[in-house]
Symmetry: C2
Subunit: 300 residues, 2 copies
């Protein structure tokens, strides 16, 4: 599936996820109005919805139901969103803007931004459980998803990668360190998406392995592509300044292996991802393949 | 059971939980050393372990197994600990000391304190799942515990209470607002402990209701007692300065209804808690009753 064919699928799921996220904290719940606003502000700030897309595409590649995957798709977007809110805080990256809008703490204050992040992370686990409560996902499968979310987003996963990234700002000396950061800070949550989608569709061990390989490869490719776009991308398309890594003296893939070699690595990883889900183990891999192509060719 | 009889039980469980918490992030996991240190620093800072105690006592009151309750007991202590780390941050209460030791961000820096809190919250859910993986708690029960942890610790629970407390610092005008803060900021997690302990021991709906009533009552009594001790307690026993609420102009139960009426309310709530678990619905309520007495009579 090429880029033109996959775009409507991506847009359809993005719209569905955005609509579902709007009601993820039921209106009937008695929660402080400002907290609700702060959570919603960042959830609705218009990301790519890449992670929810991967959950749903993985489930559908195994003929799983989209409705059953939706609560987990929303959960992973909440985890991603909380990580961005905390990442942007003055004590962390101290960013004033994200996706062209003021960051959460610039609008709601630092204390509320910390708490809105905490609330989103906690509520993500509630959302996972709803896949079982309302959509027939067996308790064992939902519990395995909870376990993997805590592993891939926790100290040995995303948070660990975040810490390594922060400590690496004093200077990385080799590509292995950078790869560790990319694998955990970005890659782990992407691997989670693929496996969770698989579990919702009752994947076999072999299928889960194929999805994990796919996720690991596109996760790293995605991050290298980000590094490349920061160096040579179009600011108007990206919605953010390019060369910020250079200015912040952040080491990146192009820094270590050069631009052309980085591009070749994205190609190689994308090919590896597509091969993992082709060849029969995944019954309907077309959308996953389309997404891999789409990510490789994106300009923002 | 009176205070003298319950003390060995409390100390035994506190030691068990502390020992278990020391190994909750397996030594074999590849996580950044400073993150591991920061998580451990606050987990080992020597709290009362009240919440784990309640999980285990509730399970044992229904003849549940202590080992099966232990992962959930540890999970709730992680959630409590993360909330303290974030609470102490400069953007929140800006505290330099907790339990006589420098706060997490004073030792590890603000960024690491935020991330250590995030990691503890995430890892708590992993710990809950281990009750099912290793101790025979049915997946349905473990999933219900995950759901309630996310509810009672999330935006409609503890985080919501935290936001209300923060916003209330501009001045509360009545006792209902203060009760809302106490119920959510402290009470909800305590109710969670009782219900989770019950679920581990396969509690009936009637038993869960009794445990919830017990938890709601001692949760509020605990917080009013805190307000009282802040006003009239012994600094050397409390390990912190008294009258901090007065100095910070925080409104408390004694502020609204006076010291004597506050003490009477603690008595009334403790009596209500004990009645809820007496009378036959809970087979072995002695330790729960002992804990209620212990909390009412504590001087720190």
């Amino acid at each position: 599936m090429d880029k033109q064919e996959i775009t409507p699928y991506i847009e359809e799921i993005s719209a569905l996820v955005t609509s579902q996220l709007q009601q993820t904290v039921p209106a009937t719940w008695d929660i402080p109005a400002h907290l609700r606003e702060a959570m919603s502000y960042s959830l609705m700030a218009g990301g790519k919805r890449l992670r929810p897309l991967l959950v749903i595409a993985a489930a559908e590649a195994l003929q799983g139901r989209r409705e059953a995957a939706l609560p987990v798709a929303c959960a992973v977007e909440m985890v991603h969103t909380y990580s961005l809110i905390h990442d942007d805080l003055p004590a962390m990256d101290d960013d004033d803007y994200r996706r062209g809008k003021p960051t959460n703490h610039k609008v709601f204050g630092e204390a509320m931004a910390i708490l809105a992040g905490d609330a989103l992370l906690t509520h993500a686990f509630y959302s996972v459980v709803q896949a079982s409560r309302h959509h027939g996902v067996p308790a064992e499968a939902a519990l395995a998803i909870v376990e993997e979310l805590s592993l891939f987003a926790g100290p040995s996963g995303m948070v660990g990668g975040q810490v390594a990234d922060m400590e690496g700002e004093q200077g990385l000396t080799n590509l292995d360190q950078l790869r560790y950061i990319h694998e955990h800070k970005t890659g782990d949550l992407i691997v989670f998406c693929l496996k969770a989608g698989g579990r919702i569709a009752s994947a076999t061990t072999e299928q889960l392995q194929a999805l994990e390989t796919f996720g690991r490869a596109i996760g790293l490719a995605f991050q290298i592509q980000d590094d490349i776009l920061d160096l040579v991308g179009d600011e108007s398309k990206l919605g953010k300044k390019t060369q910020s890594d250079v200015k912040q003296q952040k080491v990146t893939y192009p820094y270590f292996i050069g631009l052309e070699e980085s591009r070749a690595e994205v190609d190689r990883l994308t090919k590896q991802a597509k091969e993992a889900v082709s060849g029969g183990v995944i019954p309907q891999p077309e959308c996953l393949i389309g997404i891999a192509n789409y990510l490789m060719n994106r300009d923002r």
